[in-house]
Symmetry: C2
Subunit: 262 residues, 2 copies
């Protein structure tokens, strides 16, 4: 599986670091692994569903943890959502993390005709969920745009429900299907590949989420590895639908194997 | 549809009264309609998915609004859940309204091996949802019991997400299917019919929820009416799956028609 590779897509949380209220901690070997990928000449793009911060803030945090990463190397859902909103003349009611709001600064939000939901974390209050619900149910044809459909993720203080769970709550209440921007949407992986300028057959996705990372990338024709870090659980290895091209203990091990094949 | 009736099942919120933080207000004509049903000799049972209070407290509130109602006449999800927990030796982690907790006083809750979710309202905090999720995902085979699967309901200050939405969030996050106690579960309607001692063919359900009330009762072989009060919305009349035996403007009109046929 490690042959004929020209580019890597890396998930961030659970692969590079474990996030948490304290800013998070790097996963052993990952800082060095990113450096080795860049030194090898392989193309690299970070492909994240992170929606708790602007890309600028997100990148600063990762740089603070020692990672060699820049804003241009990050593919994230909020900018993709903004493109979609502009194309379709949609004015969002936002149910997102406070720190993500600046990504929507250019977007008209008066008299909303859709709801955009991200990983709002502490903003997932009973009041805010009811408010987003009322905006949706008040539309003739509710439009719900979700910045990902992750089930849960791991922070240093434990597992947390991800945006997908709250998306499902609103979908059920309003009897609609959300449009998902972010992994595992095909368009999202394709725009990350386009950023690298590498075709799917020559790219490998490395992630900790069996469905969003591995399943999504394989649907696009990429190879995909699951790391045994982050939200990985042993039962993922018996997943009924998705089978990674390989399991690796962590990013460092994946990079070892890939660089040996170059 | 009004012939050969011996018993009525009445939904409460949206049929008898509109609930709200202030205790709610009776729907015009409903207090008198309940009195007329009782005077007619028809059997009567109140069949509610109310899980924001013990039956005792719930009945007291309705009596305060002028309704002739007693605890024995109320079929509600929490006692049904307690029977199920005892039968199966389950120890619940509760995600319910504070005022419902006394219904579970007799139940062993140490070292939980299932999660029971009700309409927790203000208790649907980000922290409480994460906690219930962690209990579930920590089980080898997660068991989620839901006191209803309603999408939303109307209070005097607006529409609110109901337990079904939060149930869907946990179902998705844990990849499980909840066991629903309460409407529209068949067993729940059957126990209400048993309380009245009336067979399904001779009973009519009257409710404002097209799926939980009308669809659920029809699945049990009852006739079912939808009132145009409470959470009723005009688009319910084009529901793709469920067609009530009749629409009525309110409970009073339903009772007029039924009593004329006696």
């Amino acid at each position: 599986w490690a042959r004929a590779v020209r580019g890597l897509l890396l998930d961030v949380s659970g692969v590079l670091y474990d996030s948490g209220g304290d800013g998070g901690v790097p996963i052993a070997g990952s800082v060095e692994a990113v450096r080795r990928i860049k030194a090898s000449g392989l193309k690299l793009q970070f492909c994240t569903n992170e929606t708790q911060a602007t890309r600028e803030k997100f990148v600063k945090k990762l740089q603070g943890l020692g990672f060699d990463i820049s804003v241009a190397e990050v593919t994230a859902p909020a900018p993709a959502a903004c493109r979609l909103l502009k194309e379709r003349g949609l004015r969002p009611h936002l149910l997102v993390h406070n720190d993500l709001v600046p990504e929507f600064a250019e977007i008209d939000k008066a008299n909303p005709n859709c709801v955009v939901i991200g990983d709002a974390a502490e903003n997932f209050t009973y009041a805010n969920l009811n408010e987003a619900f009322r905006v949706l149910i008040g539309m003739e044809k509710p439009v719900l745009i979700s910045l990902g459909k992750g089930r849960y993720y791991k922070e240093t203080d434990g597992l947390k429900l991800d945006v997908g769970a709250y998306m499902k709550a609103l979908e059920y209440a309003c009897d609609v299907e959300a449009e998902v921007v972010g992994k595992p949407a095909k368009m999202f992986f394709e725009s990350a590949l386009a950023e690298m300028g590498v075709p799917a057959e020559q790219a490998i996705m490395i992630g900790d989420d069996i469905v969003s990372d591995v399943g999504g990338a394989q649907q696009c024709g990429m190879r995909a590895l699951q790391v045994r870090t982050g939200k990985y659980r042993p039962c993922d290895e018996n997943h009924p639908q998705v089978k990674p091209d390989a399991y690796v203990n962590n990013l460092a091990e994946a990079v070892d194997i890939i660089l040996q094949q170059l």
